[in-house]
Symmetry: C2
Subunit: 288 residues, 2 copies
């Protein structure tokens, strides 16, 4: 190991990690070793820089807990989450595109019926999202469950509000036998990712905009179908071209249409203006 650029060290590291007990682990670990070594060599990484990086990684783990997932955020802003989504979904051209999960999903939201208002008493303009959940051929996926979550008008998710102890702006909607669903909520706003941790610290050392365009998260995990993690974005909203987590896809941008007070899609009569979005989610089969 006396060559200047450490090539033989890399070879030895690749040889060792190639002894992993499964071929896939060996493939992942040797690939990781090769690319990380190539990175260090290419940028001629210094010891000080590397110690700074290891300290950053440590703080990123330590600021994380049951609710805050700083490593998911790091992966998001590096474009890795979006890349992995894209690699995973390669073959499903007709299905609704997936996008990043983000760090704010909470498991176990209450299961509710179509039309339920998941915004309850919170401020904001009422929004109805309705449509169908279908397979690739337009046939309904009966009783599909749509796990929905979003930020409030201040850009805060429940997981960022430690004092909240019941479900807030999140619910699992059960579609009907015909695959139809109706979510009632409030209009989402764009927000910045959390800037008070190691990821924000890094972003603030660049010209990168820390904003996400307004969106609502959906997760549909139906037996027999490929799990779909996605968002809907309102057409014309800010930051669609600069989403800090690379989450925007054209097919996920949809019109949120303004309505004056009057009858709403859930059959009730609204005494103030509201918006309506129509969206059909198309699921790929599990095997694809």
């Amino acid at each position: 190991m006396t060559d200047d650029s450490g090539e033989s060290l890399t070879e030895e590291a690749v040889r060792r990690w190639g002894t992993a007990h499964t071929p896939r682990t060996a493939e992942l670990m040797t690939g990781l070793v090769r690319h990380l070594h190539a990175f260090a060599r290419e940028v001629d990484l210094t010891a000080d820089e590397w110690m700074t990086a290891l300290g950053w990684l440590t703080r990123t783990g330590q600021i994380s807990d049951d609710k805050r997932q700083e490593f998911i955020l790091a992966s998001d802003v590096l474009g890795l989450s979006s890349l992995v989504v894209q690699l995973d979904q390669k073959s499903d051209e007709r299905a609704t595109p997936a996008t990043v999960l983000g760090p704010f999903h909470i498991d176990g939201s209450p299961v509710v019926e179509s039309g339920f208002d998941m915004s309850e008493e919170l401020p904001g303009t009422p929004l109805f999202i309705l449509g169908r959940v279908t397979d690739l051929y337009g046939l309904p996926v009966p009783s599909a469950v749509l796990d929905v979550w979003q930020a409030d008008v201040d850009g805060a998710y429940e997981s960022q509000l430690p004092e909240v102890d019941e479900a807030r702006l999140r619910a699992r909607y059960r579609a009907g036998a015909d695959g139809r669903y109706c979510v009632r909520t409030i209009v989402p706003l764009g927000y910045t990712i959390p800037m008070d941790g190691p990821v924000g610290e890094l972003i603030s050392r660049t010209g990168i905009s820390p904003y996400r365009p307004a969106h609502i998260h959906f997760l549909i995990d139906q037996p027999g179908y490929r799990r779909l993690v996605t968002h809907l974005f309102p057409a014309g909203t800010d930051y669609l071209d600069s989403d800090v987590v690379f989450g925007v896809k054209d097919a996920l941008v949809t019109h949120f249409v303004e309505h004056q007070p009057g009858p709403a899609p859930d059959g009730k009569v609204m005494d103030r203006p509201f918006l309506v979005a129509h969206y059909d989610f198309v699921l790929a089969p599990a095997s694809s």
Copy 2:
């Protein structure tokens, strides 16, 4: 961003991180993005695998504290620490080679005089290490301070023993005006890296030996000279060819010579067998 393999996503991520406020940060971040994206694409990383990796990173940060540095250990076993040392020290052919710092260094060890027994009352065979600290031309570095640390006969470093609250098997030795130093300690043994954390978990999924050969750590940080972080290894000890952290370099392997009871290098008379190693540390100038 509709290309299958995510190339345009990578380009956009590189463009964004290229807006970093200093050219070096831009170089580091765009290099990192390119190599991590290339890795994900090459191994066709799945969402499940990536979530597993992010969970592993989070646990690696969370198990770390003031004393335990699991990310340094991760870097060590991937060969990255050793690679960075090698990249950093490229041009100093005549100087003592550097090697990995490892995760067990503790700052602020007591400053002691030559001959001090840093093993105090601990079990083990007495060992004297003596020699000079010089520059590249063999001239003494007067009053150089050698920060020395090692594991006990059970393979444990002080930082792994939460109940210890004073310096144990570590000290900073001040060399004389002629650059001469003499460390008294105990003979080191090989040990396994800590296997009870995320790094051990990963290693145990491979055929990689978790052992390090016996060694003693040295850090010499003298004004006007390049900081030297290194080890000495006893010739003929186990695991020299399979050091789990890639730390061995030929020029750091030295003879530990057995002596029968009698006069020791510190002038005292030993009533039991002891070992003696001679080693001269050669420092490069700070500017090189």
